[in-house]
């Protein structure tokens, strides 16, 4: 056991903290907070923030240097994430690309694909959305029906419909699963495609989420032509490639613990404020506040333990499903407890009609048990693949 960071890691932390403190959009500098990233102006503001980070090599610290990263390890990435969330920096508009698609590209992509797609992804010049769910294929993802048909030797034609694509209203590219062999069923015969959203035949219909902003889109494909070099992995290998992405989505890539430890610390501050003016109210919720903080701490420690295993050559596996259940429920508990402390104050909208921070976070946390495979699917995965219960 060694719970300390190396001098190099501490120096890296200090460098990250200093840069973030000087650059994060903030009220005091008149540069923040940024408008919601689900609005057109907010999306562009978030894109500009990503570009600034990229120019200073902060957007993807764990990537190889040639693609815009610093070639750092998982521990350094965790350190950066701690500083990122601590600084109050904005949500990452490029998260679907940099946290989900990028690890998959690094594992399955050709050298040409990596050169082509990774740098503009890191700079948010190209923002990605995910095209997996369909109207009749959500939890039962293997039931997708959108088709990919081979046309000649150098291309494919896509037809069908994807839905609930987060940030799909504004994204530049989509990574999605299509059925490429009509004679197959379920997990076989699927292919993983990279599709530009401005390709002829792509139609986007934005969908308002719970907060009223168009955070979702449904995407229609009508004879959309895609060249063969925009297939990720082999044709027919789509399910395997997608599960690598899903592992990143459920595991620590997408949801580093700092996000929750920062929110849990804010919850304790809120509780402390309440306690100074309403002792009974604070006493009523003390247990819930402590429990939420403890769970965030448990997630942080479990992540360090997982990173320790990875650093000694272990591989991430089905435990990603355990992570997903744990962080999503922790996030909900943190925000629900804050709303309980705030009462009706938490419901008030701003003049622009936006929910306050805690309500906004609560609405976001409600999505956690649904996206990236519902928690019911995750419990099936844990029960069958970790515990070995019968299917």
């Amino acid at each position: 056991m060694d719970l300390s960071f190396t001098p190099e890691q501490e120096a890296f932390r200090a460098e990250a903290r200093a840069w973030l403190e000087a650059n994060v959009p903030s009220v005091s500098r008149g540069t923040g907070p940024l408008p919601s990233l689900d609005t057109p102006e907010g999306f562009e503001a978030h894109r500009a923030w990503e570009r600034l980070m990229f120019e200073n090599r902060w957007s993807v610290v764990s990537w190889p240097q040639r693609y815009g990263g610093r070639g750092l390890g998982v521990m350094e990435w965790l350190v950066f994430e701690e500083e990122y969330w601590r600084s109050g920096a904005p949500l990452r508009v490029g998260q679907n690309g940099i946290f989900l698609l990028a690890p998959t590209l690094l594992e399955f992509g050709t050298p040409e694909q990596r050169e082509r797609f990774l740098p503009p992804m890191a700079s948010a010049e190209e923002v990605w959305c995910q095209g997996w769910s369909e109207p009749d294929a959500g939890s039962d993802l293997a039931g997708i029906r959108s088709r990919a048909d081979r046309r000649g030797s150098d291309g494919w034609v896509l037809n069908g419909q994807k839905t609930w694509c987060s940030r799909g209203a504004y994204a530049d590219w989509l990574f999605g699963l299509f059925r490429s062999d009509p004679d197959t069923e379920r997990h076989r015969g699927l292919t993983y495609f990279l599709v530009p959203m401005d390709a002829p035949g792509v139609t986007v219909r934005p969908i308002a989420q719970l907060d009223g902003e168009p955070g979702f889109a449904e995407v229609f494909f009508d004879d959309v032509e895609v060249p063969v070099d925009q297939v990720l992995g082999e044709p027919g290998q789509g399910w395997e490639v997608a599960m690598a992405t899903a592992g990143s989505e459920r595991g620590l890539n997408l949801r580093s613990p700092a996000r929750y430890t920062v929110a849990a610390n804010r919850l304790v501050e809120l509780w402390s404020e309440v306690a100074s003016r309403d002792r009974d109210l604070a006493a009523m919720h003390a247990d819930a506040v402590a429990s939420a903080w403890i769970d965030a701490e448990a997630y942080r420690l479990a992540t360090y333990a997982a990173a320790t295993r990875l650093a000694s050559g272990g591989k991430a596996g089905s435990e990603a499903s355990m992570n997903k259940i744990f962080w999503s429920e922790t996030d909900l508990a943190i925000h629900a407890t804050a709303l309980a402390l705030l009462g009706a104050e938490a419901e008030l909208l701003s003049e622009e009609g936006r929910p306050g921070d805690w309500m906004d976070g609560y609405l976001f946390s409600l999505a956690g048990p649904i996206y990236a495979g519902t928690n019911e699917i995750q419990r099936n995965v844990v029960a069958e693949r970790v515990l070995g219960l019968p299917r």
Binding site: M1, L3, S4, W293, R379, L389
Partner: protein, 371 residues
Amino acid sequence: MRLGPDLDQQELAGAFRSFCDKECSAQHIRDAWDGDRGWSTERWKRLAEIGVLGVRVPEAYGGMGLSDFEMALIAEEAGRMALPEPLVDTAAVGAGLLDDLDRLVGWPPAPGWLERVASGDAVVAVGTLDSSVASPGILVHAAGEADLVLLAAPDAIWALDPADCVTEVRRGLDGTRRFARVDLGSSRALPVVSGEQVRSISVAVTDRGATATAAMLVGLGAGMLDMAVSYAGQRRQFGRQIGSFQAVKHQLADVAVRVEFARPAVWRAAASGASGDATASRDASVAKALASQAALLASRTALQVHGAVGYTSECDLHLWAKRAWSLASAWGDVTFHRRRVLASLVPDPAPPLQGQAQPMDTFRADRGALL
């Protein structure tokens, strides 16, 4: 940053697991229930022979000279097999307190109790008091079978002969756990050490008790999960294994999640206790709250999955479940430790948390979290 056991530590835990597999079957636990003291003096000797009782006794006193961290790994394995012996009391909390007293205040003069602990010659029981004002008849686990009873108050520590302070011994619901009523009032002994210097030693007693017990609870939770998974794979209803039903799967998955997320917190607490980190008390409380919660959920779920057979004393499950119920409140229950964590996070303990002084009365914890 390295959070988790290294190869040597994994080997140590693995060797102890093999020992428990051989020497501590469910039948052995049942035999222990039927015995006079709730555990086996023969197995205690063998625990000494393989070095487990001296894990955190310094080498100079015949121990292995390892830390609370290795002790936690051992305690988790002991929990997995529901080992009946008072391992946590003697080898973790007792040896830890004796070691602190030896290093910090030079008590006891060597050769003394630490050698006897490592060699299996002494059972040590430890209890804590809110204050040095003699409290009548607190319950201390294993004090009836002990050779030495240590009592820790915030400003004083007593080392007592059980003959001088134990007024009665009672069986607990878990047949391996016997509780002694210890009456400091009737004992004329003076504390072996008192004053401000005691505070950090006393706090460490609570932290070590909470951490080692948390480790045992993680093992108990994992053990009960294994039992329930195995039963769900055998038992058939409606023409299929009940483990194939999602209503059963999801409950067991939730247990797996709570157990898995408690374990790294126990490692953290044991490591920060061993190195005297500033956050040691909070880390211990985080671990104990998580581990108690996990083991209680495991016991509740395992019982439900077993159905009526789990509600019998013929089924082995109750041997694990009753231990978990007892240990979940020993050294502070979920609510106590949540409050202790919250109090550590706010600079000025706010009114609702005042009075959560440490250490604590070991068994005066409500059992509201049980079911």
